[in-house]
Symmetry: C2
Subunit: 223 residues, 2 copies
């Protein structure tokens, strides 16, 4: 028995027959690092509930560059690997296992059938889409305004030099105050830096894990 | 009696009591050109079903520039003016009446109550969000890859010079073939040009309505 109620907030609002159908259809799968799990509109393998590892969702620009839209970690649910069941979606993304990744695979047809008649499942889907939409809006804001990331990178390197240590005892509030920004904005950028492997966030501390790439980022602010 | 069944695909799947509650709560409203209907997370006036006119939904970059995300026309439903009822949305947008605009106003609480227990309403909401998400993905692609719009603008001006007329008898397929692109991609860009007032699309024809701005756009390709 899989701990689906731990992952899916609508679980207790499914009737027993739907819970049984779900449990019968959902299976664990492993993907080796580098595997492409979903590529464009033709794939529709299903929803993937990450139980360990890391998925990267990206798009490819007209010039062939990959743009990372967001990453999914433990307990995140990958919706766009089932994009065929989502009416109104007209864009394609690619999903890659960025590390060895374990997922629970929820077949598209099963999920679609539940979503069509269950308001809790449909609203959960809506919330997932809104979260990913929010990720992309944030990214677009970053693309249009390259300043905060470069300024934060420069500030972290400065703090690191002052501390004489990779580990900084500095709060997000303090960093935000230095940058004239809001704490929420800085926290979100630090989480992005963490997902990119530039820093590691702890409770009340922050460790620089890739000084070189922070240096490249901070240099961009002087262009 | 408002013709709500003409606008809302879930109408016939509501029970009579919900239809009555809907009809009682929904009222026409007019907004003069230039009115800001919704501005950020604090507003939550409700969903706005456009019956005439034009709404513009935009965000403001860190540097203070407005970026138009999409426009809404007759029969479109503005969802983000009710963003408070959408769990998972963490970005803010502004909605402006770009022309004198008439809408049917659907109060947030009413819609939220229906969405929570009706799968058809929840799935319709999901589809709306997916369409707007698709608009933004398309825009991001444009921002990352400025080529097609400039090339299409240059091609339209060239065709106009050849025809000796603002009205061009050219199909989207022919334009796509000239640009080495797909018809769908060119059609979407032409619709965007139309919403920006650069061209007017007819059946089997296309009229250039703002030669000067097309000229500015086409010049960008030579940077």
């Amino acid at each position: 028995m899989l701990p689906l109620d731990q992952y899916l907030p609508f679980w207790n609002r499914l009737d027993p027959a739907d819970q049984a159908a779900f449990t019968a259809a959902v299976h664990p799968r492993r993907f080796a690092q580098g595997t492409i799990l979903h590529n464009g509109a033709n794939d529709c393998i299903g929803l993937l509930l990450v139980t360990s590892g890391q998925l990267r969702v990206f798009t490819v620009s007209g010039e062939g560059h990959e743009i990372t839209l967001y990453r999914l970690f433990d307990r995140d649910l990958c919706l766009f690997s089932a994009s065929c069941i989502l009416r109104g979606v007209t864009f394609d993304v690619t999903v890659e296992a960025e590390r060895d990744t374990e997922v629970l695979h929820i077949p598209s047809e099963l999920y679609h059938r539940l979503m069509e008649r269950s308001a809790p499942v449909a609203n959960f889907t809506n919330e997932l889409m809104a979260e990913r939409f929010s990720d992309v809006m944030w990214l677009m804001d970053q693309i249009l305004n390259h300043k905060l990331d470069t300024r934060l990178a420069a500030l972290l390197l400065e703090e690191r030099a002052l501390a004489g240590s990779d580990t900084l005892n500095v709060t997000h509030e303090q960093l935000a105050a230095h940058l004239g920004s809001a704490r929420e904005v800085v926290t979100r950028m630090l989480r992005y830096f963490q997902s990119e492997g530039l820093v590691r966030l702890g409770r009340g501390s922050l460790t620089v894990t890739d000084e070189a790439r922070l240096g490249v980022l901070s240099a961009a602010s002087r262009r």
